[in-house]
Amino acid sequence: MAAHDMTRYALKTRSSMEHLFILITMGDLLGVPILPPYYSLRLLPYVVPQIATWKRRMLREKDLTDALF
């Protein structure tokens, strides 16, 4: 109960880093041409399990109050 906040923040930090990495490498999936396709294709198998979650997070409407919690 007391550690829920800490767990959540730790996960949030990791997910932000991972999602930023996917944005840099797989931005093409959202229409942002960033890397030459060769590197994206090499990384793609490792990223596949997270693509759905990543897209949802990137495209979700965000708000300032999200920063509170």
């Binding site: 109960m1 007391a2 550690a3 829920h4 906040d5 800490m6 959540r8 923040y9 730790a10 996960l11 949030k12 930090t13 997910s15 979650t53 949802r56 997070r57 979700r60 409407e61 965000k62 708000d63 300032l64 109050t65 999200d66 920063a67 509170l68 919690f69």
Partner: protein
């Protein structure tokens, strides 16, 4: 009246409210469906949207909503006597407080976990989002100002407290380092750090650090600054984590103290209708904010909890239940103010140094009933009070620096820098605290907090109306809170402007060490913030009610007759 009886009445009221009214609203009006997929399940990303057990979420919700509001408000409201405060705490929670927390969670649940900005855009009007966000920005600044002012006043008055807080800072940093860098088991870390925190509180009780209020204001702001700019795992989170155990121990000690000592109220049940800051209506209803109803809770419920609920059926327990528990906390604070002092004059003398002093001295007496030495009890209660403040202050300043970058970062690129954003926010806070009295800052904070609550209730009303559900249980509380708080803010702004005139004429003296120009500037800024909040709220209410009547018109309009097919038609 005996304090145990007051606590018992609050507990009975909470049980009745939860098991009868809350159940009725939950099952008959909102009609929660435990089988319906919640946003946490639909959009699970393991972070924001994450199905979490109801008991864990209850703790999360309570920890997030229980800050200084339920403690300070009832202590300050004792100036009217214990009865008005007790009635507002009980009936405010029963009829308005839990409703707001609960419906905010439900609106979030049924709208894909959208936060209030997005909901205001969709439910109220396009300009509603920006108005709401700018409203929230100043509202949060007032939270930091009110909390900083009171903690600093208490640390200056009770020099046994500062070392405890400095110790807690060190313990928190050490805990973060042990958990994240050294991978020490969390239970081992917790036990060691809680013991160390208690040791630092004891050390504070024997090693006082006397300093002026100004020094401690700067200290609390530095504390918040570090919380805003350092990585969250290294500072804010571990401090908040260890603090949880200290607050839980404190609450347990207070309840045991009341039960063992069972003192009677030494203050009158009712004193007078009008006190220094204003008349009972509307000022009492904004003085006791979080203990009866609070807009902060709606932010927690919608943006935080609604995205983690496993089932719709958990909303009543998590959001409603934790508000009822907070009502008990507010009642304990009321009892501390009303029963711990020899008489009403002793309470008023302690209040002159701020509500924090009343809390610390009063709670130490209650700890004394269970054998805890007074010096340690005072330092512990003081530390607990500070903890309730700083855990929220850190988060708010962190939020404010992000908000500053978002709102003005495009126009002024310097504001994108996190240090600039945090320092600007803290500079506004410092200006408010340095040039004002706590009672006005608290009333402004309470007013903005209750206005936020009425806006949350209005949004819930519009949503319920759009779903063709009964919405009287949110509409009337929204209107009551709106009218009350607009009057309270108006009155406070008027008093602040009058103070400027009095300072100019020389009939009012500025605080010690403050020039007249500075005091006048502070009053003008505080009045301007109050007026801005009123205008923003009026715009939102105007747009909100327009939307509400539009929806009502649509839902009541007779349906167009359906063309009847006649035999022979193809």
């Amino acid at each position: 009246m005996n304090s145990v009886l007051a606590l018992g009445l609050a507990v009975v009221a909470a049980l009745v409210g939860y098991y009868i009214y809350a159940r009725y609203v939950d099952e008959k009006i909102v009609k929660v469906d435990p089988k319906k997929a919640t946003p946490a399940k639909m959009y699970m990303d393991g972070v924001d949207f994450m199905p979490t057990g109801r008991h864990v979420l209850f703790g999360y919700q309570f920890k997030s909503i229980a800050a200084l509001g339920p403690v300070t408000g009832p202590i300050a409201a004792m100036q009217w006597g214990w009865l008005p405060g007790l009635l507002w705490i009980v009936f405010g929670t029963l009829l308005i407080g839990w409703v707001q927390d609960y419906v905010s969670a439900i609106v979030g649940l049924r709208n894909d976990g959208q936060s209030f900005g997005a909901l205001a855009y969709r439910l109220i009007s396009p300009r509603g989002r920006l108005t709401l966000l700018s409203f929230i920005y100043f509202y949060l600044i007032l939270i930091v100002a009110a909390f900083s002012d009171m903690t600093a006043a208490m640390m200056a008055k009770l020099p046994s407290v500062p070392l405890a807080i400095i110790g807690l800072m060190a313990v928190g940093i050490l805990a973060g380092w042990m958990i994240y860098k050294k991978k020490v088991d969390i239970m081992v870390t917790t036990v060691i750090m809680v013991v160390l925190a208690l040791f630092s509180i004891w050390l504070g009780s024997v090693l006082a650090i006397p300093a002026s209020k100004l020094v401690w204001v700067l200290f609390t702001l530095l504390f918040s600054y570090l919380g805003a700019v350092l990585p969250i795992w290294s500072y804010t989170q571990p401090i908040n984590y260890i603090s949880f155990y200290l607050v839980a121990l404190g609450m347990l000690g207070a309840v045991l103290g009341i039960l063992v000592g069972h003192p009677s109220f030494t203050t009158p049940s009712f004193t007078t209708y009008t006190i220094g800051v204003g008349p009972m209506w509307p000022i009492l209803f904004v003085t006791i904010a979080c203990g009866a109803i609070s807009g902060w809770h709606s932010l927690v419920s919608s943006s935080g909890t609604a995205r983690q609920l496993e089932s719709e059926a958990d909303a009543k327990y998590v959001a409603g239940g934790s508000m009822y528990l907070e009502m008990i906390l507010a009642t304990i604070a009321l009892i501390i103010a009303g029963a711990a002092f020899a008489n009403f004059d002793a309470y008023k003398t302690a209040l002159k140094a701020g509500p924090a002093t009343v809390f610390s001295v009063g709670m130490a007496k209650f700890f004394g009933f269970i054998g805890i030495p007074e010096a340690f009890g005072t330092a512990f209660a003081g530390a607990m009070f500070c903890i309730l403040a700083i855990t929220v202050m850190q988060l708010v300043v962190r939020f404010a620096r992000i908000a500053t970058a978002e709102l003005v970062g495009d126009a002024v690129p310097a504001f994108r820098n996190q240090h600039v954003g945090a320092v600007v926010t803290l500079a506004i806070v410092f200006g408010l605290v340095y040039t004002n009295t706590w009672s006005y800052i608290w009333t402004l904070f309470g007013g903005s907090n209750q206005l936020m609550a009425s806006l949350a209730l209005l949004m819930a009303t519009i949503w319920l109306a759009s779903q063709k559900k009964s919405h009287a249980f949110t509409l009337w509380p929204a209107l009551f809170m709106f009218i009350t708080t607009i009057f309270a803010l108006g009155l406070t702004a008027r008093n602040l402007i009058l103070n400027v005139g009095k300072l100019q004429a020389g009939t009012l003296k500025p605080a010690t060490g403050q020039s007249i120009g500075l005091a006048m500037g502070g009053n003008i800024v505080a009045a301007a913030i109050g007026i801005f909040l009123m205008v923003a709220a009026l715009i939102l209410i105007y747009d909100g009610l327009k939307m509400y009547f539009k929806i009502r018109g649509e839902t009541r309009a007779p349906k167009a007759p359906v063309a009847q097919a006649t035999p022979g038609d193809d």
